[in-house]
């Protein structure tokens, strides 16, 4: 830190001051309201709100479906990233650009579109119906919606690492007698692991808080297909502010832990690959 240069540029006080005031007013103070409201509850009240059987069932669904969706995205996202970086195929650029659709498409639109497709009279749902597979209006619908919104994360974290990879490593593996599968497994895959885990964690974190795309397709049956964010909404609609806040506290604490994990994973990826993602 050079003391000479420090104040050559103007605007330090103004820009940092504005940043801190705006951050406090929009984010920090309102967020603190959740924790402050929680402290006005007795331990018993809090436990009643966050550990009732219906809420527990919603945690199981939310975290279970988010985990599965992130896993699906890790496997297929890796395949897609591999195909996009390694094989020329017609329409590749368009596919590449459309990968980010879940970031750009409003969640409510995704929700009704997925419902239209996966309901029993929809394009995909009607094919699965004779096989006895029901997707919309039940837990599998939640999984489909969460897979949709998490789709870009793994592709976009793995893709740059694959692009940076030189041919030399795999050439060396081949010259030492490795098959392509062995070269992938022993040489390429280990370099992808940090990015893959980061993408998985990002998709999982996004899915846990997701609301808009899920509620249309889930059916929202208590104890069966009701996600935790919907529990908060339901409690609010019943003017149970304390209950809603208690469940929100649980979700916030979990989100913060996930944020710390993701920061750690990103730092690990940057160290391993020399680039930030």
């Amino acid at each position: 830190m050079s003391g000479v240069n420090k104040r050559v540029l103007p605007g330090f006080g103004l820009s940092l001051g504005f940043t801190l005031v705006y951050l406090s007013l929009i984010v920090l103070i309102p967020l603190s309201a959740v924790f402050i409201k929680t402290t006005t509850m007795s331990w018993h009240e809090f436990l009643d709100a966050v550990a009732s059987p219906r809420v527990i069932a919603s945690y199981k669904l939310t975290f279970g479906a988010s985990f599965l969706a992130a896993l699906i995205n890790a496997v297929f996202g890796l395949l897609l990233a591999w195909g996009l970086t390694r094989y020329p195929f017609p329409g590749r650029k368009i596919v590449d650009a459309l990968i980010d659709l879940p970031f750009a498409l409003p969640t409510a639109v995704a929700g009704i579109a997925l419902t239209a497709i996966y309901a029993k009279n929809g394009w995909v749902g009607s094919l699965l119906e004779p096989l006895g597979i029901k997707i919309a209006f039940g837990p599998p619908g939640v999984l489909v919606a969460l897979t949709f919104i998490g789709l870009p994360f793994v592709v976009r974290t793995v893709q740059p690492v694959l692009e940076d990879l030189e041919t030399e490593y795999e050439e060396a593996a081949a010259s030492l007698g490795a098959t392509r599968w062995q070269a992938f497994q022993r040489v390429v895959f280990p370099t992808l692991v940090p990015a893959l885990l980061t993408g998985f964690a990002l998709a999982f974190a996004r899915a846990v808080g997701e609301y808009g795309s899920v509620i249309f397709i889930a059916g929202n049956i208590p104890m069966v297909s009701e996600i935790t964010p919907l529990i908060i909404i339901t409690k609010l609609e019943q003017f149970d502010y304390k209950g809603a806040t208690a469940v929100a506290t649980v979700m916030l604490v979990i989100s913060f832990l996930l944020l710390l994990l993701i920061n750690g994973l990103q730092a690990w990826t940057a160290r391993r690959t020399g680039r930030a993602i």
């Binding site: 591999w82 659709l101 579109a113 929100a248």
Partner: protein, 296 residues
């Protein structure tokens, strides 16, 4: 989410490089299998929903489609969505520039912690983002009594919608600018100042041209989220027709009333917005990559 900063590097054409070399070429069936499975997954989860929006919107013909969009409630929802974006994007733009200037151009303690705090809204569930403003400004909230006495409505009114939208789009512009401006350092600005430029001239003539693509990129993503936000806005809106419904909320209301064609008509506008966003985003990435430095 990969920021624009990462795409400033030359994107190599890795496909031909690997497939030209016999040692690193994959057999044809592996190629077909991977591309086939990848594209099936892509079609099932991304392409079909996108197509479905437009097919469902036009299911009852173009007449129904267009009349659904000129309904007074629909127009009011479109206006409110535009208003929410027109306010929250500039707020967050100003914030993004200030935060990136402070973080990239100066040294101070707690900088990394500040960067983490800026990213915080991304990890908060949209529903919780709405709830926090209810706890502060709602009737039973901290300022509820005071606001009621002064006849000011924030929750279940337009200001609440703008606040919730600002919260969920908070980090978009800052997180594009911070890494880029950190990488650019402060040499150019210092040179401008030492040659006698004022702070404002330096910012306008030196900094802005250097960051214009990242800035545009952040604005595009911020705007898309601002117009499409559902969960947070749903909590604070109160769903008053013609008053506090944004476009995504209007989609929900119509859908729940089984007015599917109208719901998908409104949804198709939002899907178009998403497509325009992706086209602009791809263009900005391409420009940033081919002409990263400002032209005269």
């Amino acid at each position: 989410m990969t920021g624009l900063a990462a795409t400033f590097d030359e994107r190599p054409d890795t496909a031909s490089k690997f497939q030209a070399n016999p040692a690193t070429r994959d057999s044809t069936w592996v190629r077909y299998l991977i591309v086939g499975v990848g594209l099936t997954y892509f079609a099932l989860f991304l392409l079909l929903p996108l197509i479905a929006v437009f097919v469902e919107a036009f299911r009852k013909g173009a007449g129904v489609y267009f009349s659904a969009l000129v309904e007074p409630d629909a127009l009011s929802a479109i206006r409110l969505t535009l208003l929410a974006a027109a306010l929250s994007v500039p707020f967050n733009l100003l914030f993004g520039l200030a935060a990136a200037w402070a973080i990239a151009k100066f040294q101070f303690r707690g900088k990394n912690f500040l960067i983490t705090l800026i990213d915080l809204p991304f990890s908060v569930s949209p529903v919780v983002a709405g709830l926090i403003y209810v706890l502060v400004f709602g009737l039973q909230g901290w300022f509820g009594g005071w606001l009621r006495e002064h006849d000011i409505k924030i929750i279940f009114a337009v200001p609440g919608i703008i606040l919730a939208t600002t919260f969920v789009t908070f980090p978009f512009i800052a997180r594009e600018l911070i890494p880029l401006m950190q990488a650019q350092g402060r040499d150019e600005e210092e040179a401008a100042i030492s040659l006698g430029a004022s702070g404002f001239q330096t910012f306008w003539r030196v900094t802005i041209p250097n960051i214009k693509w990242a800035l545009l990129y952040g604005i595009i993503l911020c705007n898309a989220r601002a117009m499409g936000e559902f969960g947070a806005v749903s909590v604070v809106s109160g769903h008053i027709r013609g008053e506090t419904n944004t476009m995504p909320l209007q989609v929900e209301i119509l859908y729940n009333e089984y007015q599917f064609a109208a719901a998908f008509a409104m949804a198709s506008l939002l899907a178009l917005l998403a497509l325009v966003t992706l086209v602009l985003k791809t263009y900005v990435e391409w420009r940033a990559h081919h002409h990263p430095v400002a032209e005269e």
